[in-house]
């Protein structure tokens, strides 16, 4: 039966008739009662097929065009694409080296064709993304924020030690750039808090510079009381918001 399904359209009618006969007969008798299948149609020449990829070598993420041509085939499939037109082209973006395999069939036989696409291991960009992720994670895990007393922008003794640890981490990762965000609690006035936040960010930057970190790596911005970490009106919450926060700069 599978063979019959590969028939051309003009031959379908005969098959359907034959099937109808089979069904009609089998309804009242056993298998043996089925008449022999109709004789195969006049044999066509065996199919021909070709498949090329252009380009056939590329970097990961790049695209290539598959071009194929077949003659006489009644069924054409490419493993990676499924059933395709007898002739055509398709753009593919393989992530690794791939051999594209084409199978052309007709009643008289099958023909295969292959095209090999070589994918070079991806150069810098993609790994850099992942490494940037890990850099950012590492930065967030190691760089401890500095907290301030009310209306103060002085880095206390306690946070000098925190900054010393931060500076050690930064020295181990000399390519990391980052922003110091100055934040304030919700008390006080909007504009004065912006200025106070700037002073917090800048005194933190200066402390890092005096610990040997280049100022070129450090940007500062104040968010005043505009972007609080904690929104309750409690001393615990306010203390959380009086800080210099480090943000990795991609």
């Amino acid at each position: 039966m599978e063979e019959q399904l590969k028939l051309t359209r003009s031959q379908w009618f005969k098959v359907v008739v034959a099937l109808a006969v089979v069904l009609a007969v089998s309804a009242c008798g056993k298998k043996k009662a089925a008449p022999p299948p109709p004789p195969p149609p006049p044999s066509a020449p065996a199919p021909t097929a070709s498949l090329t990829a252009n380009p056939n070598a590329l970097n990961a993420g790049q695209a290539t065009t598959l071009i194929w041509k077949t003659d006489y085939a009644t069924s054409v499939t490419i493993d990676q694409l499924g059933k395709v037109d007898p002739s055509g082209s398709s753009t593919v973006t393989p992530t690794e080296s791939t051999t594209y395999h084409l199978l052309a069939k007709n009643d008289s036989g099958t023909q295969e064709a292959t095209a090999r696409v070589t994918v070079m291991p991806a150069p810098a960009p993609p790994p850099a993304v992942t490494s940037d992720e890990t850099q950012a994670q590492m930065f967030a895990q190691n760089m401890k924020d500095v907290f301030f007393d009310y209306d103060s922008y002085d880095v206390t003794q306690q946070y000098q030690q925190v900054l010393a640890a931060d500076a050690r981490f930064l020295k181990q990762h000399p390519n990391m750039k980052f922003t110091v965000e100055g934040h304030c609690d919700e008390r006080g006035s909007t504009e004065y808090n912006l200025a106070l936040g700037d002073n917090r960010a800048n005194s933190t930057k200066q402390a890092l510079v005096s610990l040997g970190i280049s100022g070129d790596r450090i940007r500062t911005i104040s968010y005043g009381k505009e972007k609080p970490f904690c929104t309750e009106s409690t001393e615990a919450c306010w203390a959380q918001n009086r800080r210099a926060h480090f943000v990795y700069q991609r």
């Binding site: 006035s189 909007t190 504009e191 912006l194 002073n199 104040s222």
Partner: protein
């Protein structure tokens, strides 16, 4: 007329009330002891009677009445004292009915309005009830397309004419605008509204944080501070073009812009040197000068609009923020406040007073309310204007110097309020979302 002109001059002069200082609150006022002009302003008569006219008349009458009431220089005659017949034109006026008790009005504002061929026609008069020989002080005609907006506009114009005549030649504020920050769209953006809270419109769409709007003296641009990829920058919104226009960007964070009253210069705070300091720059963005140099935060400058030769600002150089003054070249620094937490100065149009927000008794156990105060700069004597608790901040003077707009969270949310410069007649102007940092236009 001269006696009315003179009355206004005493408006500011009652700050020197002895005993008000360092005492608990007693009610003082800029108008105490001054007889206000008693003004009757009956609804304008409708000369056409369709429903469109009725709606416009209601808008007009409400707006005019509100403008005159909030002007702060009138004792408005209660409607229940009005004579039975209200005039719509001069020939219908019986002056003695208005000048004698019970209304006892000194002045009568009246008129009529109608709609013809899509035009709103308004005639208005102001009569002196004590001068029957030649009572007319003012006669005005207005013709505008018949829209609600224009009914408000005409009412504002007529109110401003009356206030100008009876208020000692100082222009009224009914046509002025307020610029402010609103978060009702989801982010803090710059908004605009009429002085009475009507016509609230969103101007900016930064989608991040916009703060501290200050309109230029000619009303063409609004300078404000916004977060950009270069940190905080002074940004410029053109009211004529309806969009942002370029302004010079500086290093560090830059915020709290303030215009000199001649429109030539902008003072602002910048952290470009690593410390927040006050700078001035020309209104085209060039010629930047640093005025302050110290370790503490310096922010929120305001120019003396009378002379543009002085700047008041907030400095944390000695700890908690205090108000300071200096010459506009940075010399001659003086301190205005000496205790508590004092921020957000606004210099009065006549150059004499600073309005600011002050938590006067600051520290553990002290009442922590931030209130609006006005200080006479020469004597450093001050009066407290708000007493209603909550955090009151960012006062801004009206161009006539009789009003102050400010923000307050007294109702729970931060909203914008206005009051007379003696603290009376408080009105809430905004209700949607949270609204802050109001700035009153120069005209």
């Amino acid at each position: 007329m001269k006696r009315y002109m003179a009355i206004q001059l005493t408006l500011f002069l009652l700050f020197a009330i002895t005993g008000a200082f360092a005492q608990d609150w007693i009610r003082t006022g800029t108008g105490l002891g001054v007889e206000k002009i008693r003004l009757a302003a009956p609804d304008f008569k409708q000369v056409t009677t369709d429903s469109g006219t009725q709606n416009l008349a209601m808008t007009f009458n409400t707006t005019l009445s509100n403008d005159l009431q909030s002007a702060g220089i009138f004792d408005m005659v209660s409607r229940s004292f009005y004579p039975l017949s209200v005039p719509g034109a001069p020939q219908e006026v019986h002056l003695s009915d208005w000048g004698s008790p019970p209304p006892s009005a000194n002045m009568l504002a009246f008129g009529n309005l109608g709609v013809q061929a899509g035009s709103l026609n308004v005639q208005g008069w102001l009569y002196d009830t004590k001068n029957p020989q030649s009572p007319q002080v003012l006669g005005k005609q207005y013709r505008e397309a018949a829209t609600d907006e224009n009914a408000r506009l005409v009412a504002h114009r007529f109110a401003d004419e009356i206030i100008f005549r009876l208020g000692g030649g100082i222009h009224g504020i009914a046509e002025t605008k307020l610029y402010f920050v609103s978060s009702r769209s989801g982010t803090k953006e710059i908004w605009q509204m009429d002085y009475d809270g009507a016509n609230q419109k969103q101007l900016t769409h930064l989608g991040d944080i916009a703060l501290s709007p200050h309109v230029s003296p000619d009303g063409s641009r609004v300078a404000f501070s916004g977060v950009t990829k270069d940190g905080w920058q002074i940004l410029m919104y053109s009211l004529e073009l309806g969009r942002l226009v370029n302004f010079t960007r500086f290093g560090g964070d830059n915020y709290s812009p303030a215009w000199s009253s001649d429109g030539q210069n902008i003072a602002f705070s910048s952290s470009r040197s690593g410390n927040t300091e006050i700078y001035t720059v020309s209104s085209s963005g060039g010629n930047a000068h640093r005025l302050t140099e110290n370790k503490g935060p310096d922010v929120s400058p305001t120019w003396n609009p009378k002379t543009n030769a002085q700047i008041a600002w907030v400095s944390g150089r000695t700890g908690l923020p205090q108000i300071y003054t200096m010459a506009s070249d940075g010399t001659n620094v003086g301190r205005a406040t000496d205790q508590g937490y004092a921020v957000s100065p606004s210099w009065s149009p006549n150059g004499q007073f600073l309005a600011f927000a002050w938590v006067r008794h600051y520290g553990p156990g002290a009442p922590g309310a931030s209130d609006i105060y006005v200080m006479d700069i020469a004597s450093k004597q001050w009066v407290q204007l708000t007493h209603d608790g909550g955090r009151n901040d960012f006062p801004s003077w009206s161009p006539d110097g009789r009003h102050i707009v400010f923000q307050s969270n007294r109702t729970g949310k931060v909203q914008i309020w206005s009051m007379l410069a003696d603290g009376s007649e408080t009105r809430q102007l905004t209700t949607a979302g949270e609204n802050s940092q109001p700035n009153w236009s120069f005209k």
